[in-house]
Symmetry: C2
């Protein structure tokens, strides 16, 4: 396990990170061969160890919380940082859940026999070395390790310096169990977390790191995705919309709007803007604004929304349409038509989750066909975009990019595939015309 509280020199830090990546790559070659039984036993043993050694974890966490308080960390972040017996139990339960999930490694995705008799199979294989760059919450350390290991990968964890002691204790416990089970000691490693440069070294470790997944705020995600030269998966910024169509059932629309905004306003699948078809606005808006007021939500409205009035209504700025408030705020506009709603979403949406409330079949079909996002809901809350809700059993993050994975990412998304071809001495005839190679 690699971690350091020494402030290493620039070159030393780079060496540390690349060395950890090399060791992770060797560990990954072995982990790729591990059977599901082995991995599941490991996950259960990890869960038990976390609970048994809870006191060590809590002691380390107390040091982080004390450091946080001393440096003036806001209570909200202190809460995200803090562990408890219950939260440790939840981490352990998360590992046990992952153990119960099907192993994606080795799954035959497709296969067939070619005209010449060559038997072809496309099978799932681990990605190899997965890097996770994350902020704040120590349970990500355990959740990410469990998911990546179950999918046969080695993991490099680069957490927040504010959780250094907690993460160090967690990784030490997990690694002890890994070694006890005869698996490579470098399967789970913690990277230095004090210098931003360690992130840069991780995300540019081409040939060593197979994918890097950022988990955190827009700033972290953007920094990783823009600077990575290894494959990166863009997660989570959610400027999600709820569009209330002309034919919407008003009670349904109100329920969905409130749930989408106010259930968990700080998560990426929370609605940040709602659009109302002008034909239903007179009936819908007063009730919507009142209910949002009751939930403590400030509405940033366009002229037609502001005109309806309300003490929780302010005029929207241009930036509000692109804003991911992550708070009890929501932008609101009246639109002339469904195409106008689609156009607004195309202009301002972040490709996360977009919902329509409607009774009209054609409207539902048009909206689902024309809105391009990771998830499109018809008569359902945006809050459902979640790996657990989708039945994946666990989730490493929610991708908003289009390649490799889109939407909630579960175990299969932590794998790649390879083709296997079985022949009896098959060779390819002749020599095709020079212009038909695709290389």
């Amino acid at each position: 396990m690699t971690t350091t509280t020494d402030r290493a020199t620039g070159e030393q830090l780079k060496d540390q990170v690349l060395d950890a990546a090399r060791r992770a790559k060797r560990a990954a070659a072995e982990l790729a061969q591990a059977t599901r039984s082995t991995k599941d036993e490991l996950l259960h043993a990890m869960a038990d160890a976390l609970v048994k050694r809870g006191p060590e974890i809590l002691a380390a966490n107390e040091r982080d919380v004390a450091n946080g308080r001393e440096s003036g960390m806001p209570e909200g972040l202190i809460d995200r940082l803090s562990l408890s017996t219950e939260r440790i139990e939840a981490m352990a339960d998360g590992l046990r859940t992952v153990a119960g999930l099907p192993d994606p490694v080795g799954e035959v995705v497709r296969g067939n026999v070619l005209p010449n008799g060559l038997q072809l199979q496309q099978v799932r294989v681990p990605l190899g070395v997965v890097g996770i760059v994350y902020e704040g919450r120590p349970n990500v350390t355990v959740d990410a390790a469990g998911l990546t290991l179950k999918a046969g990968n080695a993991v490099l964890l680069r957490g927040s310096s504010s959780a250094e002691n907690s993460n160090t204790a967690l990784v030490e416990i997990l690694s002890d169990v890994v070694v006890e089970h005869g698996l490579p000691a470098d399967s789970v490693q913690l990277l230095p977390c004090h210098d931003r440069a360690s992130v840069q070294h991780l995300i540019t470790a081409r040939g060593l790191v197979d994918v890097v997944i950022p988990r955190g705020g827009a700033g972290l995600i953007s920094a990783v995705v823009q600077n990575a030269t290894v494959p990166a998966i863009e997660t989570g910024v959610g400027n999600c919309h709820v569009y209330v169509d002309a034919s919407a059932d008003i009670d349904t629309a109100l329920r969905i709007l409130l749930n989408s905004k106010a259930r968990r306003p700080s998560v990426c699948n929370a609605a940040e803007t709602f659009l109302v078809h002008e034909d239903i606005a007179a009936e819908f808006l007063p009730r919507a604004l009142a209910e949002l007021h009751g939930a403590g939500v400030t509405v940033h409205g366009d002229e037609r929304v502001v005109a309806v009035g309300g003490s929780n209504v302010v005029a929207a700025t241009d930036e509000d349409w692109d804003a991911e408030f992550l708070s009890l705020d929501i932008a609101a506009a009246v639109v002339d038509s469904l195409p106008a709603a689609v156009e607004h979403i195309r202009e301002h949406g972040s490709g996360h989750t977009e919902a329509i409330v409607t009774s009209d079949v054609r409207a539902a079909r048009q909206f689902t066909a024309q809105v391009d996002a990771a998830a499109v809901m018809v008569n359902a809350s945006t809050a459902f975009t979640d790996g657990g809700e989708f039945g994946m059993g666990a989730e490493i993050g929610i991708s908003t990019q289009k390649l490799h994975a889109r939407g909630p990412m579960g175990l299969p998304e932590l794998t790649s595939t390879k083709w296997l071809a079985f022949g009896d001495g098959h060779v390819r005839p002749g020599s095709a015309p020079a212009n038909q190679s695709s290389c």
Copy 2:
């Protein structure tokens, strides 16, 4: 259609490229809604137009060939650049073939009903705007346009300046047909090809270009993949191996080796190294070296191979083990065991295609389990790694990366997916504990 022979200023060039990308994005939103019937009619009409307007294409091509000769272009490249009535017919046939393939757009990849009754579906959607950066051969212009359009995407083509006239004529003809069929004029666009900066602007057009696919030599691939800030798919460098195991049937091994190396030595799936288990080396090597000699292949051998001797055998340098010769050259070594062969491939392979020749079940299982590459062959030539051979019907390139696509890429690989959820006013209960969000 955008192209220019003017040497635009730096800023003008950037504006041109980004403007083309914006127009492609608008075109893509429309193309995403096109039915298969519409797209197939378009492809057939394009095929017919290419043949009918063949003389225009050939005249433009003659200008490129003349320019090439004048600037001292080697005959091999002149050949790759040259078009003929037959080659135009082949391009047209390629489009007709694509028209006959299933439309990936709209395919329901998976779906189920959640415990709460919410109906979930994951459907295929176009990626959106696809950028192709390619060298040399004008038929890539047509092949790439056909595949990307069939998968519902708009395409930005950045070809080689040596094929400028040919590509301009081709794109003009394709675009005329697009417009005649009522589809967006900007569905297929050619980008300026004289200034390397146009590539840079294309591959950094975040928010406009959804993926960029390089088609060409290692230098071009590397430049694109390393500098792109939009998603890029790493194609084709093939340092492919053939491993002749102790239990291999010698005649089979010879056939596979010769076919893997000499059938088409300049393509990415050609074998560049062969490894021989020491237990079979004495029997296999003399015959292998002789047959390779007969095919005009120079063998760059390790000490044990050189010791066998032969006028076509030279001592291998360290670099030879990583070399993609793309010529009638092959590196060769004797290995002590199957694990040693696997280790060598892990060290030097480029993740393209690796083959084992063996009669032993365990050896086959171990090799296919432990070698991680886009394609692993058992008793079959490396030359089979090809979209056409794999039954995909057509191929945009062969990916050697692990995310999104790996191995030959057909129509489905030019798509993304989105989740659709259908409810009846479903909302998500309660408010989960603060530490269980994945955002």
